[in-house]
């Protein structure tokens, strides 16, 4: 499944994922944003893998904040924007 979200004032945030037994699997974040260090991308994918597919945006954003070391810097992307893109991939709300 595929979801895209243009973060207001930010960049394009894209999520590709599968759902297996009610949980997120093979989560892949991509987009034209900036992340330092670049390995934070793998941490974000790993943090989302296995989350319940009905977790909701607030819970997913909180789980990303927990998983990322304090020195990770984001520009044009945020935990909330990533959670919105996940929600779009899962079609939580077709009007979102």
């Amino acid at each position: 499944m595929h979801g895209e979200y243009k973060m207001p004032g930010g960049k394009l945030v894209v999520i590709d994922l599968d759902v297996r037994d009610g949980h997120l699997a093979n989560v892949q974040l991509s987009g034209d944003f900036f992340l330092e260090p670049d390995t934070a991308l793998y941490m974000i994918n790993a943090a989302l893998d296995g989350q319940p597919a009905d977790a909701g945006k607030a819970m997913l954003a909180a789980c990303l904040l927990d998983a990322l070391p304090a020195d990770v810097m984001m520009y044009g992307v945020s935990p909330e924007a990533i959670a919105v893109a996940v929600g779009r991939a899962l079609q939580w709300d077709s009007h979102a």
Binding site: E4, Q28, L35
Partner: protein
């Protein structure tokens, strides 16, 4: 670490004969580390392209961004760079690309937004001297009344900041849209439905040859910040050639974000 200013550094210029897309990716990697390690003075590098390319950002999905069949049909190589940001469509002679390799002290305590504008202030001045009123549009674009002129990207590594910019000099928008997949969501807050209309190249805005635009940029940088003519050291070139071969040409790196 103390904050430094442009004039605290002995700026070097590298502007060589055309090089392959993968070698350009590798040179950015190597020269950033050389400046970060203190083995090279802060440097401005002007790129010359030996072949057409699509350069995708560090975090972009290869299949979402590029129509591989169209790229192959047009004989365009696809490469992934070390910095984030969006895809660039390159044809030799159609773009002006440059990199700045600087110690982190130059952008110390700046927000990302401030650092982008700070490192390109000299370019806005050079464009002004060419009669183009251009400004920084956050997060990472240089734009004008006619439309977008350039996109910038930064990354921090090994104690240095890499800031590189691709400016549109001329553009084959039809070919670009054939090769790049530019989605509707991306354009949703840009106020236009046509990706081609978003870019207004320097050729139509200045009426000048590409070389004259580059000469003005170099002259402005030299006047504002000081600039000595330099060249790649043999060990830098050898390191970059090895990295171009082993990393930046590899399918694993290109498809790191599939």
């Amino acid at each position: 670490m103390m904050r430094t200013d442009w004039r605290d550094h002995d700026w070097q210029l590298i502007h060589t004969t055309p090089q392959s897309p993968t070698l350009h990716m590798a040179l950015d990697d190597v020269l950033t580390h050389e400046v970060g390690a203190g083995r090279r003075a802060p440097t401005l590098r002007i790129w010359e392209w030996a072949a057409p390319a699509v350069v995708i950002g560090r975090f972009q999905s290869l299949r979402n961004e590029v129509d591989a069949a169209a790229a192959q049909r047009h004989d365009i190589q696809v490469v992934r760079r070390v910095s984030g940001g969006g895809a660039m469509f390159i044809e030799p002679g159609n773009t002006i690309t440059y990199s700045i390799y600087a110690p982190l002290s130059l952008v110390k305590d700046m927000s990302f937004q401030e650092a982008y504008a700070f490192l390109d202030a000299w370019v806005l001045q050079a464009l002004g001297e060419l009669g183009i009123k251009a400004w920084y549009q956050p997060l990472n674009d240089i734009t004008s009344e006619g439309g977008k002129i350039a996109g910038a990207a930064q990354t921090h590594r090994g104690g240095a900041v890499l800031h590189h910019v691709t400016m549109a000099y001329d553009i084959d928008a039809t070919k670009m849209l054939d090769v790049l997949r530019i989605g509707r969501e991306k354009l949703s807050d840009k106020g236009t439905t046509s990706a081609a209309k978003r870019v207004d190249p320097l050729r139509s805005q200045t009426g000048l040859p590409r070389e004259a635009v580059i000469a003005q940029m170099i002259a402005t940088f030299r006047r504002l910040h000081g600039l000595h003519d330099d060249r790649l050291r043999p060990d830098e070139l050898a390191d970059a050639e090895a990295l171009a071969r082993n990393k930046f040409s590899s399918a694993a790196w290109l498809a790191d974000v599939p």
